[in-house]
């Protein structure tokens, strides 16, 4: 089994200090931060989770060392569910996308990447890393992808779904070019809903956390339409786009609408050669968590079939967050389990057939 959204905690953002270049180390030591010492510099979202966003049976960041957090992750996730590979997605690192100072944002991303490569990947052969970049600095992001994108433990480029503009925009071309050159998938994880980034809902900000959380998937929809319409997959046919934690059941409805509108107005995007749904099926992958939970699972399965779920879905638990999906209780059609829990991610991230001490189970 491969878990495609696993958050590796730090004890405090000060873990990055040894990895920051001097001017930005000074900025983090002496500069303003949004919280007590150890807080990570970012523009916070306007919705405050009423309970904190971690499972309460997981040590809080400040209550453990990086090793303690790894030990918890190993016991509560890797060993408990016999995970072959866990794709690390950082904790707050993707929030660099919210900072107006794009150079500081890129410096923090570089420091996170070096910390992750030094302090996480060597701990366990089952861990793989995501390279965090600051999308508001596309040239800096490209440079970072070329700097460490060929590390054998790095399997994708990662940024938040919160963004200044949707990711197909030519503004981001340097980032896509670099990812294509290194043959790395580009992933967007739910987050970055603050600071310089656009409101996640077009009609204005929601009020409550649970209301907002359910609607953050709207940012995923915007990126799907944008990367298809701008022809990212025509120009970079080897690139895959991965949406993490955005929900999945909305995808077929969006693709039906995109296909219909494209057929009528295709003259706007003459660089496209296929239907939006065809690009999506080949190039876009979505992680399952938090999988929608209708009263009748068959209602969900009908929708998942309409989006070729067996091909495009990647299992994710989101450990250690409050909306964790347990792989033994999420409901997927049995015939898909081998692909969704394992095969699709193994192909996408080009992972070997077996790893470490884990079994090659199918969940």
């Amino acid at each position: 089994m491969i878990d495609c959204d696993v958050h590796n905690q730090w004890p405090s953002a000060e873990a990055l200090l040894p990895y920051l270049e001097p001017p930005f180390r000074d900025y983090l030591v002496r500069g303003e931060i949004p919280g007590p010492p150890g807080s990570f510099p970012h523009g916070h979202r306007p919705w405050l989770h009423p309970e904190g966003f971690k499972r309460s049976d997981v040590p809080a960041p400040e209550d453990g060392t990086t090793e303690d957090h790894y030990d918890a992750l190993r016991a509560q996730l890797l060993d408990r569910y016999q995970v072959d590979y866990a794709i690390l997605t950082g904790e707050e690192a993707i929030e660099v996308s919210t900072l107006a100072n794009a150079r500081y944002a890129s410096a923090l991303a570089r420091a996170y990447n070096d910390w992750m490569i030094d302090e996480w990947l060597p701990r366990d052969g089952r861990l793989r890393g995501s390279l965090v970049v600051a999308p508001q600095d596309p040239r800096g992001a490209a440079k970072e992808i070329r700097r460490v994108g060929d590390h054998p433990g790095v399997v994708q480029v990662l940024m938040s779904t919160g963004s200044e503009r949707p990711y197909g925009d030519p503004f981001y071309d340097p980032l896509w070019e670099a990812a294509a050159e290194l043959e790395l998938p580009v992933a967007a994880h739910l987050g970055g809903q603050g600071g310089i980034n656009a409101n996640p809902t077009g009609c204005g900000p929601p009020t409550f956390f649970w209301e907002a959380h359910a609607l953050f998937s709207e940012t995923g929809m915007g990126h799907v339409a944008s990367v298809i319409a701008h022809g990212i997959f025509e120009r970079f046919p080897n690139v895959r786009f991965v949406l993490i934690e955005c929900g999945v059941a909305w995808l077929p409805a969006l693709l039906w609408r995109l296909d219909a509108d494209y057929k009528a107005l295709r003259k706007e995007t003459p660089w496209l050669t296929r239907l939006p749904s065809e690009y999506a099926r080949e190039h876009i992958r979505l992680t399952t968590q938090p999988l929608e939970q209708p009263q009748n699972k068959r209602h969900l399965w009908a929708v998942l079939e309409a989006m070729s779920g067996g091909e495009v879905l990647l299992f994710a638990s989101d450990y250690p967050h409050w909306d964790f999906d347990d792989p033994t209780t999420i409901q997927l059609p049995e015939t898909w389990e081998g692909d969704v829990f394992d095969g699709n991610a193994r192909d996408l991230y080009r992972l070997p057939a077996a790893a470490g001490t884990a079994s090659a189970g199918e969940g």
């Binding site: 309970e51 499972r55 309460s56 049976d57 409050w322 909306d323 964790f324 347990d326 209780t329």
Partner: protein
């Protein structure tokens, strides 16, 4: 797993507001002292199997007709460690879904000892 009578602790070892999570015959059980009364719940959430009894003990915003916040039942609500679903410690009743109930076990205090009956 086996049932029966399980001595958990001396009653005066578990003060009001405190809890113990113990293995009773192969079953993980949370024992709670709520204002001097003892309750026991299976440490397995009926929602998704999470570690129910490791979550925080809280109060709850009571349902109102007036769009206001009224905080009630402080110390009587258990919030699952995984997804935060709320349960009444005394009854196991789910506040989120009336069809769900956390498994509870009878508790007695005999000769100053807390006994859970499974």
């Amino acid at each position: 797993m086996s049932g029966g009578r399980f001595r958990v602790c001396e009653a005066n070892e578990l003060a009001p507001g405190q809890r113990l999570v113990v293995d009773l015959g192969g079953r993980s059980v949370g024992v709670f002292n709520v204002e001097g009364s003892f309750y026991a719940l299976h440490n397995r959430c009926p929602h998704r199997g999470g570690a129910l009894c490791l979550g925080p003990v809280t109060g709850v915003t009571r349902s109102t007709d007036d769009f206001e916040y009224v905080y009630a039942d402080e110390g009587r609500i258990l919030r699952c460690a995984w997804h935060g679903w709320e349960f009444e410690i005394e009854t196991g009743r789910s506040l989120a879904d009336p069809k769900l109930k956390a498994k509870t076990f009878p508790v007695t205090v005999e000769d100053g000892e807390v006994i859970v009956h499974i």
